[in-house]
Symmetry: C2
Amino acid sequence: MDERLAELRRRLGEVSDLRSALSLLDWDQMVMMPPAGAAVRAHRVATLERVSHERFVDPRIGELLDELRDLEGSLPYDSDDACLIRVTSRDWEKASRVPADLAAEQARAASEGMEAWVVARETNDYAAFRPWLDRHLDLKRQYIACFDAVNDPYDVLLDDYEPGMKTSEVEAVFDRLREELVPLIRETGGAIADSLGKGPFSEDAQEALGVTVMTAFGYDPASFRLDSTVHPFCSSFGTSDIRVTTRYRDDDLESLFSCMHEIGHGLYERGVSPALERTPLASGCSSALHESQSRLWENVVGRSLPFCRWLHPYLVAAFPNTLGNLTLERLHRAINKVEPSYIRVDADEVTYGMHIILRFELERELIAGTLSTADLPEAWNARFEEYLGIPVPDDRRGVLQDVHWSGGSFGYFPTYQLGNVMSVQIWEAARASLPDIEDRFEEGDFSELGDWLRENLYALGRKYTPRETLERVAGAPLDPEPYLRYLREKYATPVGA
Amino acid sequence: MDERLAELRRRLGEVSDLRSALSLLDWDQMVMMPPAGAAVRAHRVATLERVSHERFVDPRIGELLDELRDLEGSLPYDSDDACLIRVTSRDWEKASRVPADLAAEQARAASEGMEAWVVARETNDYAAFRPWLDRHLDLKRQYIACFDAVNDPYDVLLDDYEPGMKTSEVEAVFDRLREELVPLIRETGGAIADSLGKGPFSEDAQEALGVTVMTAFGYDPASFRLDSTVHPFCSSFGTSDIRVTTRYRDDDLESLFSCMHEIGHGLYERGVSPALERTPLASGCSSALHESQSRLWENVVGRSLPFCRWLHPYLVAAFPNTLGNLTLERLHRAINKVEPSYIRVDADEVTYGMHIILRFELERELIAGTLSTADLPEAWNARFEEYLGIPVPDDRRGVLQDVHWSGGSFGYFPTYQLGNVMSVQIWEAARASLPDIEDRFEEGDFSELGDWLRENLYALGRKYTPRETLERVAGAPLDPEPYLRYLREKYATPVGA
């Protein structure tokens, strides 16, 4: 191997190790850490963030990348080495603009802010959380100022999650969605819909069922683990060490869908080519592409009739007392119920988009400074009622419900809805290649779909831009029409009617 | 604050954060990680070891320490700042001699070796583990070569766990112990002894009982957590974030004693003065002093008659079917049974020392090169039978039983027995200050002892040398006589007879 390339790989391997340790600090804080550990943990996180940042923006890496430009040009565009040099150059150029102190301060604020949020959410105390939000917004403005003047300051934040995507593109897609979603919600939201009842559903049975379904999708205990947390999430510490979490409630089965959602993220990380391990390419390509996979497995597969045919006997066996008389048709209707509700992560496929459009609008105003954090709950509540048609009862079920802002993640929310849009584009491409794929679902065999996704998407990691990656896997650029068609076909006539 | 001191503290804080992240990687590997994560984890660990080592031996820290020598001289010997400069200078001088590559290689070998050991132990396959042992021994020789010629190469390894202690001192104490232990084993080992039976003891009830006892000793869920692992241990990621582990077997109650043992370590870490947080002084003083606390709580307290008076009703209530008829006297006899056995961590107070003396002797010979790893199992088995009087049935219950060598920890084992010796010295000092302390035990009140230990030992952290610390808390240097007197008084007449 070229010596400079070997040195680059060695240095990037160290950065990968430091970042992975940082991810473990975060995972541990959310999943395992006793609460009194939070104060010192914030220092640990800030230092790891600082050191990994410093090591990555080391001028020597910039030199190596410059020197390797010729080599990149001589290699096939698709080769791992060419992609490594190309993508890392973009990352390095961007990261070099951010002072290590600011990176460390953001990490510290994230760690401390998340602890404050947990308490504020529990006690429904927005006022206690507001100073953290102000601190994050101040840090975000400092962060935006590190980059050249852009059309929209929000572009800088969006680019961290969806490299290359512009705010104006999101706006165009969201405008189109709003146009269709608002009448669709009106049309379907009133439909009479079944539910799975109020349980009780024992945690043990929920966990066993979650593992059964995840295992059918590709989970195995040698490379994954499942825990429970306040806010479900997925972390990866290597392509063979994936952690997913869910949460259990005794009166519903949302844990099952959260398992399918998080394992979608997990399968993406697990499927990244092992040849990319310990490089900046060893993860999912973007937040929206990541979300496309959680949504594909959770919604497109997990709320389909063929999937229900397979799941039904397992569900009845798991909860004989509460679901012993559940019919297949009622199951399918219940898990596709459309009803405006307060909590984003519990929202159905039709109303979900408006939860995101709300957050996107508020984030843009907060960043632009046209909305203050003092007025945020009021703005949230007014717009929520306007879009979803129901009044927000309290901040717990309103502005305090999500973890993201507590960790300073602004620019992230829109990728959730872009993920929904992409999930259907990718699903249509998979089905075009594997026409009888849904017949396999009825038998509990999801391996054809899993293999296709691994080969056409997961294995690529971050080798290409999100735009390139989407075109490779779906054969087309970002397009809301397949998603809207999917929703209309599924919901314009109430499911199971 | 002196600016140089502030810079030193900032730099040491970063090193503390990196080392804490390294400890978390280790803890996670032992407690949480899915097995396929091991390969990449070894890289993570090696990098964190390398980076924390590099940051600590940074010449700038050496300069600052030199420049601060005057300040140190002007401060009271006991002041936190004087201790920080004094102890860090010793640490820095020692660490500076070790190349970062060697430190990283040792960390990688430890991580990989531990994975290999788990498999080798399960499959009783010493041959598969032997290459790891050779690799560790080779690395240890390279490590020893970093230091000036010393009387005994083993001194270098011992100093990592018991700073300032010489191999010859250990030998003198162990010679004295052997002289007394061998006849004592002969005298007591044949005594008829009760047991608590073979259960079954449900894991849930064991865990609840373990938590009850640990809580009485000072455990609280805000600052601690308890998990289960193959080899019980304690880790600290800050003075308010302590992790202990135990293991459950359905046919005995060793988990209870392992909880008391590990919480002893945990209380020491928890009691370190918060003013020392994020400095090199923020941990227990040495391995032997640490072990003195695990043994004090596990054995001196946890196998005493006053403790049994408190525990007895809890134990009977936890296991009504198997221990419903247990008398206090039989409980006390059963948990003080003396019987030669294979597994060190299950050994009673009388035979334990010979397990350690065996390992100390073999380690010295392996390091000196007078024993090869090829001959190690045979040497182990022959000497084990000579000292304990029973033949070793297989390597699982022989040379493969302990995790330490798999992680390259040579020089550690003797500190276990030194800890036993110190535990009785410290206990006698506590009882001299608090004459009616044992009456409190009967009521389940261990706070007087906990407070005394925190004030006189735990809070000091690493401010003083182990020798200074022992003299402060026990009022005397290392002395095997109180320990031997304790054993003779307790065991020369069989317990409860």
